[in-house]
């Protein structure tokens, strides 16, 4: 059997959205899925979410083994603990899925995301943009007389605040990667 499939329902780790209509706690969860690299695997995983009305906040996927036989899919989703457990169980039973883990309930984990942020501005605002970038340790990867493209990596909420601060300065375009995540310590999927 695939591991990490304990059937106990976790209590909410954190609940940014507060309560759902039914009064159930909505939690955000990072789910990592290790799959055989076959055509259609991603479609099956995504189709499961759309077909059953589950929410996808972000999704990343790339091969993680030499030879490209396995890929890791990281999905950030939200729902009641029951829904998240259903998502985990539904993913777990897909034929090409080797492992599924809800990192949010598994223990401490690291989740990182990268964003490219284009800011178009002149004068005072340009210096302000650079100052904020420095505070966030974002790198300017493209600069013109009237624009910057900053690269920033970190937790998703850090990226959110960076984007919010850039908004009044001339935020023009954003491209985010979605989350890559691993558990802390020596445990693996």
């Amino acid at each position: 059997m695939k591991h990490f499939s304990d059937l106990s329902i976790p209590t909410a780790a954190f609940s940014p959205d507060g309560l759902s209509a039914g009064g159930d706690i909505i939690t955000r969860a990072v789910i990592s899925v290790l799959v055989d690299n076959e055509s259609g695997v991603l479609a099956r995983v995504v189709g499961l979410f759309s077909g059953r009305g589950y929410n996808i906040e972000s999704l990343t996927v790339a091969p993680v083994e030499g030879g490209g036989t396995r890929s890791r899919i990281n999905i950030v989703t939200s729902g009641t603990p029951e829904i998240i457990e259903q998502i985990r169980a539904q993913l777990d039973r897909q034929v090409p899925v080797c492992r599924v883990a809800n990192l949010t309930t598994l223990g401490p984990h690291i989740a990182r995301e990268m964003v490219l942020v284009k800011v178009v501005s002149t004068g005072e605002a340009r210096t302000e943009a650079l100052r904020i970038a420095e505070a966030f340790r974002a790198r300017a990867v493209d600069t013109t007389a009237s624009s910057f493209v900053f690269e920033l990596t970190g937790a998703s909420d850090k990226l959110d605040s960076f984007i919010e601060l850039m908004r009044p300065i001339g935020l023009a375009e954003v491209s985010r990667t979605g989350v890559a995540a691993l558990t802390r310590g020596c445990r693996t999927l």
């Binding site: 055989d36 055509s39 099956r44 036989t69 169980a89 034929v95 090409p96």
Partner: protein, 604 residues
């Protein structure tokens, strides 16, 4: 997987002279396939040619691809083997989709081979191209597009393995024409399991022990058995029957679970759920330990979820972990094969030298007997010769007269009131003899299902209990029945209405029977004759028994048109959105039950 690929690589040198289609035949033979249900077309012509040139596998030509899948489903369910379907690309594949989803919902092992345009043309909107893997993805347990000849043997073998193991289901293998025409290496079935696919068969003993401990102390226990037990096989059903006898507990079953426990057994309360019996539903509501085996708490069973068996300690055994806690929160989840779970329960029962609380059980049975005394399936049939036949009477007599023949009998159904009456009035003593579309509720299932069952059991009595509306959904299969001289009996409950729809319109929409009356029905007797079958008709009570007897005795296919009372409704009934103790009983009983709420209307 690597190991398998290597096997193929070494094999390929020896046997490159076979075409993909010939390799496919060999693999099917390896898998023990004897019958394929299918329909030809350009993309599968090489496969049809290979079929022609061998004599191990028989092909049954259906008249519509949906029917091929239903026939394969019934073949699978009545034999416990994998059903096999072969259809062409594009429209052939899309026609099969309803059948595939039906098989998925009811956990039926089916392998569906679909033709596809050559790999080089995929994505070009070629003639009869369809994104078959895309279209069938949500309707299958898994699907494949074979892009390289070296994958062919492994994929087809793996498809069978996936279809039959764990929670069974349909698997599609899409075969581009260049793969079947060109050379392909043959590889024998490999025992190398796929690392990512390892269904859990063996249950956790601690969970089983906890379940048994709860059963020992139960005062009002109830077994609730679903199709999963039937899927686990005849031995699982036999073990279950023995175990239920040991415990002395009552047992109810879902629509799909009928036959897992003998229908005429004293401990059997009948089906539960929307059209289940009064005693089964009240026992479900009032029990204190509910032992759910291979059942998935479908909304047709639970009624209002928050009022489902509100005070019971719930044990749920299922091979599919995603069914656990999906709808109903349970106290003891057990993941594994139902057969293994039942066997382990018996072991634990003996190990714990369990004894039931005899006194409590006696009180429980006396309550159940009081519910039973209401005789919730009672109906009144005017016995005079000219009286209009009630549909319940027709089905009840069909059952009794089928039993009188002493023949092994398989019953398929379409979907509607007749299906529920068949579930209520037939008693299935053993598994695999009741073939109905439960999860998807597919009208048009029964006639091709009867084809599949009759092909698998040529000497058995196979009856499709049908409504006149459902029958017309796959009526073209009378052609298949004629071609293969299948002595299928189609028992039409002809009420002129889409009866189940009419019943809901009466209940929910002020008896405005919008589009539920079938005008211009065919003359079913003549229709039968035009398909080389025999037509029978009964229009009044005096004709009923003789007609059924004559039709059952007739040595060939028969369409039996039973013209029944048009306005009869199917009771008892839990209005959707209501609880089990809020049943509506028939006009024979004192009316009681819940008002249908707006929320309930949504659940129809």
């Amino acid at each position: 997987m690597n190991a398998t690929t290597q096997t193929i690589a070494t094999q390929s040198d020896a046997s490159t002279t076979l075409t993909g289609a010939e390799v496919l035949m060999k693999v099917l033979v390896d898998q023990g396939v004897e019958v394929v249900f299918g329909y030809p077309g350009g993309a599968v012509l090489p496969i049809y040619d290979a079929l022609f040139q061998q004599d191990r596998i028989r092909h049954i030509l259906v008249r519509h691809e949906q029917a091929a899948v239903h026939a394969a489903e019934a073949y699978a369910r009545s034999t416990g083997r994998v059903g096999v379907v072969l259809v062409t690309s594009g429209p052939g594949a899309t026609n099969a989709v309803t059948g595939l989803l039906d098989a998925l919902m009811d956990s039926v092992p089916v392998v569906c081979l679909t033709g596809q345009v050559p790999v080089a043309l995929i994505g070009n909107d070629a003639f009869q191209e369809a994104d078959t893997t895309g279209i069938t993805r949500p309707a299958t347990k898994y699907n494949y597009l074979v892009k390289r000849p070296e994958e062919l043997s492994r994929v087809v073998n793996e498809a069978f393995e996936i279809a039959r193991s764990g929670r069974p289901g349909p698997v599609v293998v899409d075969l581009p024409k260049n793969i079947t025409v060109g050379p392909a290496p043959y590889a024998p079935p490999s025992r190398t399991p796929r690392a990512s696919y390892q269904p859990r068969i063996e249950p956790d003993r601690k969970a089983v022990a906890r379940a048994v401990a709860a059963m020992k102390s139960a005062k009002r226990p109830l077994f609730y058995v679903g199709g999963g037990v039937i899927n686990a096989g005849k031995d699982a059903c036999a073990d279950l029957t023995r175990f239920i006898h040991t415990t002395g507990f009552p047992c109810t079953a879902t629509l799909m679970g009928l036959g897992a426990f003998p229908g005429s057994d004293k401990q059997f309360l009948g089906m539960l759920g929307m059209h289940g019996t009064y005693e089964a539903n009240l026992a479900t509501h009032d029990c204190d330990v509910l032992i759910a085996l291979g059942s998935r708490f479908d909304d047709r069973v639970t009624g209002r979820v928050d009022a489902f068996s509100p005070n019971s300690f719930k044990i749920h055994a299922d091979i599919d972990p995603s069914q656990i806690n999906k709808i109903i929160r349970v106290d003891v989840p057990i993941v594994g094969d139902a057969g293994r779970i039942i066997a382990m329960m018996i072991e634990e029962w003996d190990a714990q030298t369990a004894k039931t609380d005899a006194k409590a059980l006696e009180t429980w049975w006396s309550r159940i007997k009081a519910w039973k005394a209401l005789d919730c399936l009672r109906f009144t049939q005017d016995q005079s010769a000219d009286a209009v036949i009630k549909p319940q009477q027709a089905i009840k007599r069909l059952y009794e007269l089928a039993v009188e023949t002493g023949r092994e009998t398989f019953v398929s159904t379409e979907v509607g009131q007749h299906q529920m009456w068949a579930a209520q009035f037939f008693k299935f003593e053993s598994p695999n003899h009741w073939l109905t579309s439960g999860g998807l509720g597919t009208m048009g299932y029964g006639l091709p299902a009867a084809v599949g069952a009759q092909v698998a059991h040529p000497d058995a009595l196979v009856i499709d209990v049908s409504g006149e509306a459902s029958a017309l959904m796959n009526i073209q299969e009378l052609g298949t029945i004629a071609q293969y001289r299948l002595p299928v009996k189609i028992f039409l409950i002809n009420n002129h209405y889409m009866g189940m729809v009419r019943q809901w319109q009466e209940l929910l929409h002020g008896s405005r029977y919008s589009e539920s009356y079938s005008d211009a029905l065919p003359d079913f007797v003549k229709l039968a004759e035009s398909f080389h079958a025999k037509g029978f008709r009964a229009t009044k009570m005096s004709e009923l028994d003789d007609t059924i007897r004559a039709a059952l005795a007739y040595d060939g296919a028969a369409v039996i048109d039973i013209c029944v009372a048009e306005g009869e409704n199917c009771f008892p009934m839990i209005p959707s959105g209501a609880a089990h103790n809020e049943m509506i009983l028939g006009p024979e009983q004192e009316q009681q039950g819940a008002e249908i709420t707006d929320e309930g209307k949504m659940l129809v």
